[in-house]
């Protein structure tokens, strides 16, 4: 037991980087304060979102009271929590069990396999409990207060709470372990990770599409109507998911009304949870270490002939081009990077397309909308520009460009590449990805809303130029505080404050700029609106470009 606890601590410590934190506290005060700031600012930034969530849930509860259906409230919360745990859990599980380096160091030590698996699982579970607390505790409290529940409810809901993340996590872990060991997947860890994550997204999409289609034909999303459809429909959402997640029934039976039977149900819930954990450990013992030991194969390519080598080496190409190519390759070939920075440009246009496809707009309405657009092009134009800027700003590609290189960044800092080439190459990658997003969006929109060539030209040019300041701001952030000391590429992005900061600053900036120049364009003169937008974008870009190109070489000296 002691061993398991100390291993769990070790894993948690590793994924949070606590040792470096305390080392910095002693020896590197500047770094320490940066990290402390991060530790404080992230929770603070999430507070508004949390309040919104709590008020949304309270509203849902009152909505349900009005139609006398409070009994589904807990189930909704339970299912939601489970789905979210699964979606986020996949990433955690993959990175803790398969993508972290510590396992290779631990295998040779005389540690019982079972303890290793349990400890890894527990280290994920700790985070999932915190996550579940934020999602599910408000729901338990709202329901408990609303129904005037007593002490027994508190006790029982505590027991239920303990079971919530364990079941989905152990089943998913077992599933992943089985898939990872199947021989055909060996040497393709990277692909597998992408596949898993996309499956997760597909689930979310499926649920959303289902909701949309339940709403009928795009009328106002009347909450009561939605609930009524859901509850009167025999194959309702809750039932379908309820059969997939049967424990949601046990949970509902336990907590909806406290009776003597509640204790039996909660007992059953605890039993099933323990069983699922045991199943996971049993499967893990069979396959986990084995697949780690035998699965470290990267696919080899074919050998090159002399002529092929000299073709691959090619001619002299520009320094900016070399940086661009390298950055792009890393982005596309590392699954986590691809998922975080590139997939959005496919998913977002897909979202638009799907929502258009499912919401049937009557032809006369569509015509009305098109006429409205013709009458007021500036509104739609700025809307499009905002959306295009969104691709550049929110993927935060430049905000992790140095961080993504991790311990190999010594190379970037050692080679004689001018600051200009670094900026152009790295910003170019972000722009390329943004352009892809813009391209897909235009295709998606074109189905419903044919745009004229001049509109396209105007919005694309302004959209790209408008995001340039955000791209350069991201680069500026990453130049000042890169996150290089990671053992798992996921951390370069997930633990990186630059992403959050660039995201918030980028969104606020975009909102202000679009609002300001949009108003100018609407009330004064449309040309003035576009002109101001263009001038401000170019002006800020030039300033950032100057600052970065003056500082970059010196900042490279401070990276470690």
């Amino acid at each position: 037991m002691k061993e398991i606890i100390s291993l769990t601590k070790l894993f948690i410590n590793e994924s949070l980087g606590f040792s470096l934190f305390f080392y910095n506290q002693k020896f590197n005060k500047k770094e320490f304060y940066k990290q402390l700031f991060t530790l404080i600012i992230v929770p603070v930034a999430l507070i508004p979102a949390f309040f919104m969530y709590v008020s949304l849930m309270s509203a849902t509860y009152f909505g349900l009271t009005m139609i006398n259906q409070t009994s589904v409230f807990l189930s909704i919360g339970y299912i939601m929590a489970t789905v979210l745990i699964i979606v986020f859990g996949v990433m955690y599980i993959l990175s803790e069990f398969y993508f972290s380096d510590n396992i290779e160091e631990l295998i040779p030590l005389p540690i019982n396999q079972r303890k290793l698996i349990v400890a890894k699982f527990l280290s994920i579970l700790v985070f999932e409990y915190i996550f579940t607390a934020f999602i599910f505790l408000p729901i338990l409290i709202i329901y408990g207060v609303g129904q005037g529940m007593g002490l027994l409810y508190v006790l029982l809901s505590f027991l239920v709470f303990l079971t919530i993340p364990v079941l989905p996590l152990s089943l998913i872990t077992a599933l992943i372990m089985l898939m990872m060991q199947s021989a055909s997947l060996k040497g393709r860890k990277d692909m597998l990770q992408i596949v898993f994550v996309f499956i997760g997204i597909a689930i979310i999409f499926g649920v959303q599409i289902w909701f949309t289609s339940q709403l009928g034909s795009g009328d106002e999303a009347d909450f009561q109507l939605l609930m009524n459809t859901m509850l009167t429909n025999n194959e309702s959402f809750l039932n379908i998911i309820g059969y997939i997640i049967p424990t949601s029934f046990l949970m509902a039976w336990t907590l909806n009304k406290i009776t003597l039977m509640s204790f039996a149900w909660v007992g059953a819930l605890l039993g099933i949870t323990l069983l699922s954990g045991a199943l996971m450990v049993a499967i893990g013992e069979r396959v986990y270490i084995k697949s780690i030991v035998s699965g470290q194969i990267t696919k080899k390519s074919k050998k090159l002939s002399g002529a092929e080598r000299s073709k691959a080496l090619g001619k002299k190409s520009h320094g900016a081009m070399a940086v661009f190519t390298m950055d792009l390759r890393l982005l596309l070939r590392t699954p986590v990077y691809f998922f975080n920075n590139v997939s959005i440009v496919i998913i977002a246009p897909l979202c638009i397309w799907i929502s258009f496809a499912f919401i049937e707009i009557p032809p006369e309405d569509l015509q009305g909308m098109q006429e409205f657009f013709r009458g007021m092009p500036i509104l739609i134009n700025f809307l499009l520009i905002a959306f295009f800027v969104f691709f550049g700003g929110t993927s935060a590609t430049t905000a992790t460009t140095f961080s993504r290189e991790g311990k190999a960044s010594w190379l970037t800092r050692m080679i004689p590449v001018t600051a200009r080439d670094q900026i152009v190459g790295r910003t170019g990658v972000a722009m390329l990805i943004q352009s892809l997003g813009i391209f897909f969006t235009i295709i998606a929109i074109q189905f419903i809303f044919p745009l004229t060539l001049s509109t396209l030209l105007l919005t694309v040019v302004l959209g790209i130029l408008g995001s340039l300041p955000i791209l350069l701001f991201g680069l500026f952030m990453d130049m000042n505080r890169p996150l290089l000391n990671w053992d798992n590429p996921q951390k370069a992005i997930k633990n990186n404050m630059n992403v959050v900061i660039t995201l918030f600053v980028g969104m606020a900036y975009t909102g202000l700029l679009i609002g300001f120049s949009g108003l100018l364009g609407y009330f004064v003169n449309s040309l003035l609106g576009y002109g101001v937008f263009l001038l401000i974008s170019i002006g800020i870009s030039v300033v950032f470009y100057r600052v970065i190109s003056n500082r970059l070489e010196t900042e490279f000296l401070n990276f470690e």
């Binding site: 002299k316 890393l330 490279f556």
Partner: protein, 240 residues
């Protein structure tokens, strides 16, 4: 060729200096060895030379260029292979070499000639189309060496080059180092392998706790120590 003047470095707000007032010269055509116990400050010194770390004080000139005034110009004068070269795992060997040739602006024919030659010497021709992630430690080191030799640098800087190389490769590397210096260029490397230092270095500096305690040819160091002992014995005495 490479000149350090009163260079000092302290990490973070530690009290101890990792490198303390170091000065030495590496002349053209010279293999210069840098030896010292673990934690003596060898890697720290090298990182300051190759612009990965900023010294707290002092001046470093490479081929006449001050690396704090003209960072980029200084960077063009050397190439560097770290003790444990971490390279981009997802990039293929050949893509890495092309990248290096591009950033040092090596012309097409030269890059091909040199790469073919060094790939042969280090026997990694067959692996060069694989992602670096699939390379062994020694193969990575060899690839980094080939990448560093592409532009035929004025100063060739290596941190612990012999560790991890097989006997054939380290023999070849010594030949390459010699050949490099015979053409009037310089090699600067740190090592723990005193036999190697004794055999191939024209001059040696011994560093201990951040300070240079001895610098000169083997003969000069022997003379000062007043003995005809091997470098190993002198080293053990000096670094006691």
């Amino acid at each position: 060729m490479l000149k350090l003047e009163h260079v000092s470095k302290t990490y973070g707000n530690k009290n101890e200096k990792a490198v303390d007032d170091i000065s030495f010269d590496v002349y053209p055509g010279e293999i210069f060895g840098f030896v010292g116990p673990n934690g003596a400050g060898k890697t720290t010194t090298i990182k300051m030379i190759v612009s990965l770390l900023a010294p707290n004080s002092g001046k470093i000139t490479i081929n006449g260029i001050d690396n704090q005034h003209d960072i980029l110009g200084a960077k063009k004068q050397f190439s560097y292979v770290p003790d444990n070269p971490e390279l981009f795992e997802k990039i293929k060997g050949i893509e890495y070499l092309k990248f290096m040739a591009d950033v040092y602006q090596v012309a097409a024919t030269e890059r091909q000639e040199r790469i073919e030659q060094y790939l042969d010497i280090f026997e990694i021709k067959d692996a060069v189309n694989d992602p670096i992630g699939s390379f062994s430690h020694g193969m990575k080191q060899k690839l980094a060496l080939v990448g560093a030799l592409i532009h035929d640098p004025q100063v060739f800087i290596l941190d612990e080059p012999m560790v991890g190389l097989d006997p054939k490769a380290s023999f070849e590397l010594k030949k390459i180092m010699r050949n490099h210096c015979d053409r009037g260029r310089s090699v600067f490397f740190s090592t723990h392998v005193l036999d190697v230092a004794e055999k191939i270095c024209d001059r040696i500096a011994i560093i201990k706790k951040g300070r240079i305690i001895e610098v000169g040819t083997m003969a000069e160091i022997r003379e000062k120590a007043g003995s005809q002992e091997s470098l190993e014995n002198i080293f053990l005495e000096l670094t006691e």
